[in-house]
Amino acid sequence: MTGMSFDIDIDPLPRTELVLDLPGSDWNAELVVPAVTVLSDRMLAQPHLDEVFRLIVVRGGTSVFDSAVQPLDPGCNPDVILRGAVPRHGAVDAIEESRTGLTVVIDSAERIVGDRVGRSAWPVLLWTVGDRANERLIRTHGDCKPARTVADPDESSDRLALVCRQFLDEVAMSEEPEVHRWMDNRLSSLLTGMGYVAS
């Protein structure tokens, strides 16, 4: 029966993508490392996430980590991930495309440019940091036109980590992942007390 095809009727396993886009060549370690740690820990502790979840880290416009071709090893430090030093196995071309996803662009409110948002294949959550994040919130949102813009002048790492973790639990592990619905129904409750604009 090798080579023979059978008339089976299987729902393809949906894969959900989370892109952490850090436009600068450096990264805000205090903010980003806890989020990457949370995601790494979950991926190490739940093997089936290898198939349904894909974490991509983009730094300065270049993909430095893709969990689909750079499987995490135990003890893999987030710094190693963010530096792009996790060894690659296989080619990205061979990976089945994700069904849906979310791009979180994290950058200074003064520096951020709209083309980062426009280039994303997924809805964008713009996470702006810096002293003037609140002040520039509306303008940034209007200029860049993401799905949501958050002002985080305090660089509250726990909030970003919480958003990432909840996205993993509630979207990536869902049978029918729906990012827009999740943003509409769940995201605002995770950002209570923060400056926040929705399109």
Binding site: M1, T2, G3, M4, S5, F6, D7, I8, D9, I10, D11, P12, L13, P14, T37, S40, D41, L44, A45, Q46, P47, H48, D50, E51, V52, D73, P74, G75, C76, N77, P78, D169, E170, M173, S174, E175
Partner: protein, 493 residues
């Protein structure tokens, strides 16, 4: 009897999520032999959830002692509801035994404990890399068959007791390396009892939605048939060490036999009535496991047809159990290394007489079976000649029965004549005296055209044809359009 939340002594929080929180508490009087148990407190239970919880507790209480004992060993079934000021806020269940916990899974800069769900069984590379204590290699099929058999046994137990599990998934079933009870089913509070539970939405995990729950006529009500679809997906994940299922069932090829492959094809198809029951699965996995721990058995081998002409295709069929490798040797020296999952027959083209030999092997040894002798004959070579029309002899009696003669020459015709001939390989002894009256020679002469007569008829026909050609002054070569039995068979340019 409901337990008042205020009476519970809470020791620690075991986990929390969207559903609520699970605590370790002192076991109320006599509920369990263990000193502590788990209390699952809902965040905001709906009416259906609360009603169903009461149904589950009552259902367990109504079961025969033997079945209740099985339920308690293989699940974390709700034992009693917990109320707060008269309202149900949660339920008590047994704690997950430590044998179902991986206590040292690597994290970034630390280790953690996780429930050993079959998620880990389906991903042995990840399990090994993460430091799991119980790792079953992908090619350890015997151990995987054993877990599959146990899982099917538990699901069969559910279905025998009218229980629809609903969200069968990689994370809701735990495994241990215990011989006696290697499977534990958790998250049982959304289980429905058929015809008793209130309407209750049961979840489905990614990639597990049955065909009948998709499309325009989809139904969201789950039942034993939807359980069986999900069970098949899990069995595939566990046996194949793979999450992704393709139409070739690639992850199973070479791991189970053709019977198992066919069962998976039925189980994962859209016809829910053809899905194997949990009991059928259990019997298959049990038998396959038992067969693999012994030397393989070959119980039959047949060549169909048993003899034939050289170049003819025949089917070699067999019945084998417990093989991890199967090799077919042909009489002419070809060796077919067959996959474990190959069908139990093979088409071969006959090239020489002799015996086929089938060798089945596994880690316990080899068994072989040699077929009866297959006789292969070389058909007579027929040379076709271009001849002019034999108008005048088209009805000539040749003494040959063309109908039966054609049957001998065409391979697809009945070949029993070969067997009949073979039975007469040793001719009977001739009588010593030619004049023996017991020797009866049939008088065929009167039935045949005399040789002289045949020669004359052919000569006449040729001369007639030549005359016709000369008269018409045409080229000497013609095509024959119609000869067989036609008075006016015509020759055409």
């Amino acid at each position: 009897m409901a337990v008042d939340r205020a009476s519970l002594t809470i020791h620690r929080e075991l986990g929390s999520g969207g559903f609520g929180t699970v605590y370790e508490v002192d076991t109320p009087n006599g509920l369990l032999p263990e000193p502590t148990c788990a209390f699952k407190e809902f965040k905001s239970p709906g009416d259906a959830e609360v009603q169903n919880l009461k149904v589950l507790v009552a259902h367990r209480a109504s079961m025969p002692n033997e079945d209740r004992a099985i339920l308690d060993v293989f699940t974390t079934w709700p034992l009693e509801v917990v109320t707060d000021r008269g309202s149900v806020v949660g339920f008590l269940m047994r704690l997950v035994p430590s044998t179902f916990v991986e206590s040292s899974i690597a994290q970034v800069g630390k280790t953690t404990s996780v429930l050993r769900s079959i998620d880990w069984l389906a991903n042995p590379v990840h399990a090994k890399k993460s430091g799991a204590k119980v790792v079953v290699d992908a090619d350890d099929i015997k151990t995987r068959l054993r877990y599959c058999a146990w899982l099917c046994r538990v699901v069969h137990f559910f279905h025998r007791n009218e229980m629809v599990y609903g969200d069968l998934s990689l994370t809701n079933i735990l495994y241990s390396d215990s011989r006696g009870n290697p499977i534990l089913v958790i998250d049982t509070d959304p289980v429905r009892i058929e015809a008793v539970s209130p309407p209750l939405a049961q979840a489905t995990s990614p990639g597990m939605r049955p065909p009948e729950a998709r499309g325009t006529n989809a139904t969201n009500v789950q039942n034993a048939k939807t359980d069986l679809f999900k069970l098949a997906v899990l069995l595939y994940n566990v046996l194949g060490s793979s999450m992704r299922i393709d139409p070739k069932l690639s992850a199973l090829q070479g791991k189970i036999d053709s019977t198992g492959i066919q069962m998976f094809a039925r189980a994962l198809g859209s016809d829910r009535d053809r899905r194997p029951t949990a009991e059928e699965w259990y019997r298959y996995f049990y038998n396959r496991y038992m067969a693999l721990i012994e030397t393989p058995k070959i119980t039959a081998m047949e060549i169909d047809p048993p003899h034939g002409l050289s170049g003819q295709s025949v089917t070699v069929g067999w019945q084998v159990q417990g093989q991890e490798r199967l090799v077919l040797h042909t009489p002419w020296g070809d060796v077919h290394d067959l996959s474990v999952s190959a069908p139990d027959s093979l088409q071969v083209t006959l090239r020489g007489s002799g015996q086929f030999r089938l060798v089945a092997s596994n880690s316990n040894g080899s068994t072989e079976w040699v077929s009866d002798v297959v006789h292969v004959f070389t058909p007579p070579r027929i040379e076709f000649l271009k001849v002019p029309a034999l108008q005048d002899v088209s009805r000539m009696i040749t003494g040959l029965d063309m109908e039966s003669f054609g049957g001998l020459l065409e391979p697809e015709r009945d070949l029993r004549w070969v067997d009949e001939l073979l039975q007469q390989v040793t001719p009977p002894p001739l009588p010593e005296i030619i004049g023996d009256s017991s020797l009866q020679v049939p008088d065929l002469g009167s039935l045949l055209l005399p040789a002289d007569g045949l020669t004359h008829a052919l000569t006449d026909a040729m001369e007639t044809a030549e005359r016709s050609v000369r008269e018409k002054s045409v080229e000497p070569y013609f095509r024959v359009e119609d000869v067989a039995g036609q008075e006016g068979a015509a020759l055409h340019e």
